[in-house]
C-alpha cells in the first residue's frame, strides 16, 4: 500500500464511516440490570496498598543513585495508592460480563504469543462515559465503558488492548515518571536547559512512547489472528472521542402527544455536522501524538505488508461483542446521569430507544435523567451564595444553542431552549405513562412523585392551570387557520398541525393567554390517580408557602433563621447506636516541598488508625459500628464490594441534589442495604491534614521585637504549619434526609494522634447521646 492516493483515502474517508455500524442481530436486553461485580474478589483487591508497594520496591535497581531510587519508591507508593483508590471507588467492575469478555479478548491476543506476559496482566472495566484506556505499572489495564460503546468490532478492542499491553511491557509508565522527575530536577539530558525546553523534551518522550505502543501493538495484533485493519479504525474512535456514540436524528415529537406540542422555535432546524479531530495539528505541547500522525505511522506499517494481509474481526464471539457493546451503551446512559450530564443521557437514551422501544431499563433511565434535568433547570437561579449564582449563570450561557453540533447538540439546544415548566410537564407526562406501565417499579413511582412536586412547588403551577379538554386547543388552531398567512404554513391540516401553527405564529394574546404546556395533561386529567397525585403535591406546595420558595426571594432575616435551624438540626446528639461508616477517608497533604502532594504513607497509616479509633470509641460508648470500606472486603464474595458501589453512588447523587429529598437515583437499592445492615444511618467522613511551610519573615521580625514570646516563635519557625479538617455527614438513607453534618476546621494546629482520637470520640459520643439530652 504505497499508493499515496490510497493512503489519503484511508486517512480522510475512514472517519466518515464511523457512525455507520450495524449489529449482526439485535441483542436481547429486555430485562437488563446494571452491571455489578461477580464471583470472588481477585487477590489484588485483598492485599493492602502498602504490601503491593513493598513488593514493587523489590524491582528497584539498587545500582541507581539515591535520588532515582527514592523517586521510584515514591512512584510505586503513589501508583498503587491511586489504583487502589480507583478499585474501591465503585467505578470498577470485576468478573462481570464486560470484564470476562475483555479478558477473553486479551487471551486471544496474548496467550499464544506471550503467555507469561498475559499472566501478569489484569483487565478492568471503568464505569466512565469518557473514551479512554490506560495501563499502570502493576499491569492493571483499564478500559472505559465509553470506549466499548464506540467499537465496531472485536479486533478494534484487541488493538486498544495491544497498545496498552505494550505500554506495560516497555515499562512506559515508570520510565515516564522517572523522566518527569529528571526533567523537574534538571538531571541528565535535562541538565543546563530552560524549563520550556525540558517540558518540550519530556513531552517528546511521551509521544515517542505512544508511537512505540502503536507500532508494536500493531505487530501484536498482526501476529494474532485479529484483523490488522482494526488498528486504523481504532483511531477513528479517538478522532470522534468527544462525539456521542450515536448521531440518530432527534425529533421533538418523542416528547409530544396529540395535545402537548412544543413551539417550533425550541427545535433547531439546521445543525453542524460532527467533525472528527484528526487534522495534522501541532502536537508539540501534547503528551500524545495527533491522531493524524498516529494513523500515518500505521499506514506506513501497512505499506510493508502484502495486499492480502487480513485476519478475523472476531476471535471470541461476534454475538458477545454486540451484546457487550449494547450493554455498554445502556451503562453509559446511566453514567451520564450519575455525573449530571443529563442532556447527554437523554440523547443517548433517545437513540437507544430507537433500537429498544419500551425497554424497562431505558424507560427508567430516561425518567431519571429527565427528573435530574428538571431539578437542575428549576433551580437555575435558585442560588444560596455567590459561587452558585455564578455557576448557574455560567452553565446557562455556556452553550451556544443557535449552532448545535450533531443530533445530540440539537437535543441539548431543545432542552436548553424549552422553558422550565414545559420541560417539567414533558418529564411528568413521560414518567406518568411509565408509572402506569410499570406500577410495581417503586423508583419510577418515587421519581414521578418528585416531578409532581417540582411542578407544583418549584414551578408553582396549580392543577387548575392545565386544560381538561382540547376545546381551547382547537379554538387556537382554528384562529391560526383563519389567518391566511399562517394557514399557508400548515402542511397537513389536522387539529395538531393547526395548533402547532397557532403556538408558533400567534402571539400570547391571540392564544387567549394560553401557554403550550397547559394542554400537556388532557389525557392524564381523566385518570383519577394522576389528579389525586397532583392534589397532594399542590397541598404540599400550599403548606410550605410557594411564594418564597426561591432562596433569593427570602429576606436576610428569614435566610438566617433557616440557616440557624439547619445548623441546629444537623448537629448535636442523635441517639444513634447502630451505624455504618462508609469509606472513612484519611488523607495527608504535604506542601512543604512546594507542590501539594498526597503523603501516601501517612494517608495509609492514618486510615488504619482512624478506623481503629472509630472502633475503639464505638466500643467504649456501646455503639454498633460497621465499617464498609475497601480494607475489609470479604474474601469469598463480592457482596460487600457491590454494597460499597451502591452506597458510594447514592452518596454522590445525594450530594449533588442539596435539600431535594427525592433523588434521581434507585432508592430501592439503598432501602435493601439499610435492611441488610440493620440501620438507616450511614456515615461518610473525611479526616484531612495539611502541612505547609510557614511564612517566616514576619515571625523572624517578631522574634526580635517580642522577646518574651521567643519560645513560641522559635517553635513556629522550625515547624511546618499544620491544618486539620474533619468532615462528617450522616444520612438516613431510607428517607434520604441528612441527619448530622459537621465540618471542623482546626487551622494552624498540629495533626496529633490525641487530637484525632479526641475528635473521633467526641463525634461518636455526640451521635450516641440520646436526643433529649441535647439541652
Amino acid at each position: 500500500m504505497n499508493n499515496p492516493r490510497l493512503i489519503w483515502m484511508l486517512l480522510v474517508l475512514l472517519p466518515v464511516f464511523v457512525l455507520a455500524q450495524t449489529p449482526a442481530a439485535k441483542p436481547n436486553l429486555d430485562n437488563y440490570k446494571p452491571a455489578r461485580a461477580n464471583g470472588p474478589l481477585p487477590q489484588e483487591f485483598l492485599i493492602s496498598t502498602a504490601e503491593k508497594a513493598a513488593k514493587d520496591n523489590e524491582k528497584i535497581d539498587q545500582a541507581q543513585d539515591q535520588k532515582m531510587r527514592d523517586a521510584q519508591v515514591e512512584f510505586y507508593l503513589q501508583t498503587n495508592y491511586s489504583v487502589d483508590q480507583m478499585r474501591f471507588s465503585g467505578e470498577v467492575l470485576v468478573n462481570d460480563t464486560f470484564s470476562i469478555y475483555i479478558n477473553r479478548v486479551a487471551d486471544s491476543l496474548l496467550l499464544r504469543q506471550d503467555p507469561e506476559l498475559r499472566k501478569k496482566l489484569k483487565f478492568y472495566i471503568l464505569r466512565s462515559p469518557t473514551v479512554n484506556a490506560f495501563t499502570t505499572d502493576q499491569g492493571a489495564i483499564f478500559v472505559t465503558i465509553g470506549l466499548l460503546t464506540r467499537l465496531k468490532n472485536e479486533s478494534e478492542l484487541a488493538f486498544v488492548i495491544a497498545h496498552e499491553v505494550i505500554h506495560y511491557k516497555r515499562n512506559h509508565v515508570l520510565t515516564g515518571y522517572v523522566e518527569g522527575v529528571k526533567a523537574r530536577e534538571g538531571i541528565g539530558q535535562y541538565d543546563q536547559t530552560t524549563f520550556e525546553n525540558r517540558f518540550l523534551k519530556r513531552h517528546r518522550y511521551s509521544r515517542a512512547y505512544e508511537s512505540q505502543a502503536d507500532e508494536e501493538g500493531f505487530e501484536l495484533l498482526l501476529n494474532s489472528n485479529y484483523d490488522p485493519h482494526a488498528s486504523m479504525a481504532a483511531f477513528d474512535i479517538l478522532a470522534l472521542a468527544d462525539a456521542p456514540f450515536s448521531d440518530t436524528l432527534f425529533k421533538k415529537s418523542f416528547f409530544e402527544s396529540d395535545y402537548f406540542i412544543f413551539p417550533s422555535k425550541f427545535y433547531v432546524d439546521t445543525i453542524k455536522k460532527i467533525k472528527p479531530a484528526d487534522e495534522d495539528e501541532d502536537d508539540d505541547l501534547a503528551t500524545h501524538p495527533s491522531v493524524y500522525k498516529r494513523r500515518k505511522v500505521i499506514v506506513r506499517k501497512f505499506g510493508k505488508l502484502s495486499a492480502d494481509t487480513t485476519g478475523s474481526k472476531y476471535l471470541v464471539s461476534e454475538t458477545m461483542f454486540w451484546r457487550i457493546k449494547e450493554m455498554a451503551r445502556f451503562e453509559e446512559i446511566a453514567e451520564h446521569t450519575a455525573v449530571g450530564e443529563f442532556n447527554e443521557a437523554i440523547y443517548s437514551n433517545y437513540a437507544e430507544q430507537e433500537v429498544y422501544p419500551d425497554n424497562h431499563y431505558l424507560t427508567r433511565e430516561l425518567i431519571r435523567a429527565m427528573y435530574g434535568s428538571v431539578i437542575k433547570k428549576n433551580r437555575l437561579y435558585d442560588y444560596t451564595d455567590l459561587s452558585s449564582l455564578f455557576e448557574s449563570l455560567f452553565s446557562a450561557s455556556y452553550e451556544d444553542n443557535s449552532k448545535p453540533v450533531g443530533e445530540q447538540g440539537r437535543l441539548k439546544a431543545f432542552v436548553n431552549k424549552t422553558d422550565a415548566t414545559g420541560w417539567n410537564a414533558a418529564a411528568l407526562k413521560y414518567a406518568w405513562k411509565a408509572h402506569t406501565l410499570f406500577p410495581e417499579d417503586n423508583d419510577i413511582t418515587r421519581w414521578t412523585t418528585g416531578l409532581f412536586l417540582e411542578l407544583a412547588v418549584k414551578n408553582e403551577i396549580p392543577m387548575t392551570e392545565f386544560q381538561k379538554t382540547d376545546s381551547a386547543l382547537v379554538a387556537i388552531g382554528n384562529k391560526a387557520f383563519a389567518d391566511t398567512t399562517i394557514a399557508k404554513k400548515i402542511k397537513t391540516d389536522s387539529p395538531v398541525a393547526r395548533f402547532q401553527a397557532g403556538i408558533d405564529h400567534l402571539d400570547r394574546d391571540s392564544l387567549d393567554h394560553f401557554k403550550y404546556w397547559q394542554f400537556a395533561f388532557i389525557d392524564e386529567m381523566k385518570d383519577s390517580g394522576f389528579v389525586q397525585m397532583y392534589r397532594i403535591a399542590q397541598a404540599y406546595a400550599d403548606s410550605i408557602g410557594i411564594s418564597d420558595s426561591l432562596w433569593y426571594e427570602k429576606s436576610n432575616k428569614e435566610q438566617k433563621k433557616i440557616k440557624d435551624a439547619r445548623k441546629e438540626g444537623y448537629s448535636g446528639p442523635q441517639g444513634i447506636l447502630n451505624i455504618v461508616a462508609v469509606n472513612p477517608i484519611y488523607v495527608s497533604y504535604d506542601a512543604t516541598g512546594g507542590a501539594e502532594d498526597v503523603d501516601v504513607k501517612s494517608s495509609l497509616e492514618g486510615h488504619d488508625i482512624l478506623v481503629a479509633d472509630m472502633k475503639q470509641s464505638a466500643s467504649q460508648l456501646g455503639m454498633n459500628l460497621q465499617i464498609l470500606d475497601g480494607n475489609n472486603m470479604d474474601t469469598g464474595t463480592v457482596t460487600r464490594f457491590n454494597d460499597l458501589v451502591t452506597v458510594n453512588e447514592w452518596f454522590d447523587q445525594r450530594q449533588d441534589y442539596g435539600d431535594n429529598q427525592i433523588l434521581p437515583y434507585p432508592q430501592e437499592d439503598m432501602k435493601a442495604l439499610a435492611a441488610k445492615y440493620g440501620t438507616n444511618y450511614f456515615m461518610w467522613s473525611a479526616y484531612q491534614t495539611y502541612k505547609a511551610k510557614r511564612g517566616g519573615t514576619v515571625l523572624r521580625i517578631l522574634s526580635l521585637v517580642a522577646v518574651p514570646l521567643a519560645p513560641h516563635i522559635l517553635y513556629r519557625l522550625f515547624t511546618p504549619k499544620e491544618d486539620v479538617y474533619y468532615t462528617v455527614i450522616i444520612y438516613d438513607v431510607v428517607s434520604g434526609k441528612p441527619l448530622f453534618v459537621q465540618r471542623t476546621q482546626m487551622t494552624n494546629q498540629k495533626a496529633t494522634d490525641s487530637r484525632r482520637k479526641l475528635h473521633v470520640f467526641d463525634l461518636m459520643r455526640t451521635l450516641s447521646t440520646p436526643k433529649k439530652a441535647a439541652k
Partner: protein, 219 residues
C-alpha cells in the same frame, strides 16, 4: 472509724475519677492534676534577671465540665526581686536582697474555641478567672535595717481578674501540656499596709503580662 472513712473517701474518689465515656472528656477522662510555671517580663525595671523576669509557679486541678469547657482551681506562688529605690535624704538605698513573696488561689474557666475545632481538653482556648492574692515584703539578710521599720509589716491582699489565651495538647493519652499568655489586673483590694502602693505596683508588673507553661496528668 477513721480508717473506714478514709477508705470510703478513696473508693469514692476512685469511682469519681474513673473514665466515664458517656460524660465526655478525653476518651472519658475528665480530671487533670498539673503544675504550671509562668514568667512575666517587665523591661522597665532597672534590676536584675529575677526582677525583669518575674517567675511564678504552682499547681492546679482541673475538671472537664462540658464539651468545650474546663474548670481549673489554681494555686501559685512567687518570690519577686525588689526594685524599689528609697530616697532617704542624700542617700539612695536599693535593697537587692529583699524579696516580695506571695501566693494566690483562684478559679479559672477555660473555654475551647469552637471555631478552631477545640474540644476539651485539646485545642486553642480562652481563660477567664478570679484569684485571691497575698503579697508580703520580706527583708533580705544584707539589709542594714534602718529602712525596714517601715517595711516589715508590708503586705497586700487583692482580688485579681485574669484572661488568657493559649493552646492545650495531650500526649500519650495521659499527659496534658499547655502554653499561652495571660493578662491580669487587680479588681479589688481587700486590705493592705501603709506602704502597699509599692507592692501594688510591683505585683502589677508581674501580673499584667505573663507567658505560662503547664503540664499535667489526665486521670
Amino acid at each position: 472509724m477513721k480508717k473506714t472513712l478514709i477508705l470510703a473517701a478513696l473508693i469514692f474518689t476512685a469511682g469519681f475519677l474513673k473514665a466515664a465515656p458517656g460524660k465526655g472528656g478525653y476518651m472519658g477522662h475528665r480530671f487533670i492534676i498539673g503544675v504550671e510555671g509562668a514568667y512575666a517580663p517587665f523591661y522597665t525595671s532597672v534590676s536584675d534577671f529575677f526582677t525583669k523576669y518575674n517567675f511564678q509557679y504552682g499547681g492546679n486541678i482541673g475538671v472537664i465540665t462540658g464539651r468545650r469547657t474546663q474548670l481549673n482551681l489554681n494555686y501559685n506562688m512567687w518570690s519577686l526581686g525588689n526594685n524599689q529605690v528609697y530616697n532617704k535624704g542624700i542617700e539612695s538605698v536599693y535593697h537587692k536582697s529583699d524579696r516580695i513573696k506571695g501566693m494566690e488561689f483562684g478559679a479559672t474557666l477555660r473555654t475551647f474555641k469552637k471555631k478552631r475545632g477545640g474540644i476539651a481538653p485539646i485545642g486553642k482556648f480562652y481563660d477567664i478567672g478570679l484569684t485571691y492574692t497575698h503579697n508580703e515584703y520580706i527583708i533580705g539578710k544584707g539589709n542594714p535595717g534602718y529602712n525596714t521599720l517601715m517595711l516589715t509589716d508590708d503586705f497586700l491582699n487583692q482580688i485579681i481578674f485574669h484572661v488568657a489565651a493559649g493552646t492545650q495538647m495531650v500526649f500519650w493519652d495521659h499527659i496534658v501540656a499547655n502554653t499561652g499568655i495571660r493578662l491580669a489586673a487587680p479588681v479589688l483590694s481587700l486590705d493592705s499596709s501603709r506602704e502597699s502602693k509599692f507592692l501594688m505596683q510591683r505585683t502589677f508588673e508581674k501580673d499584667i503580662f505573663q507567658v505560662f507553661f503547664g503540664v499535667g496528668v489526665l486521670l
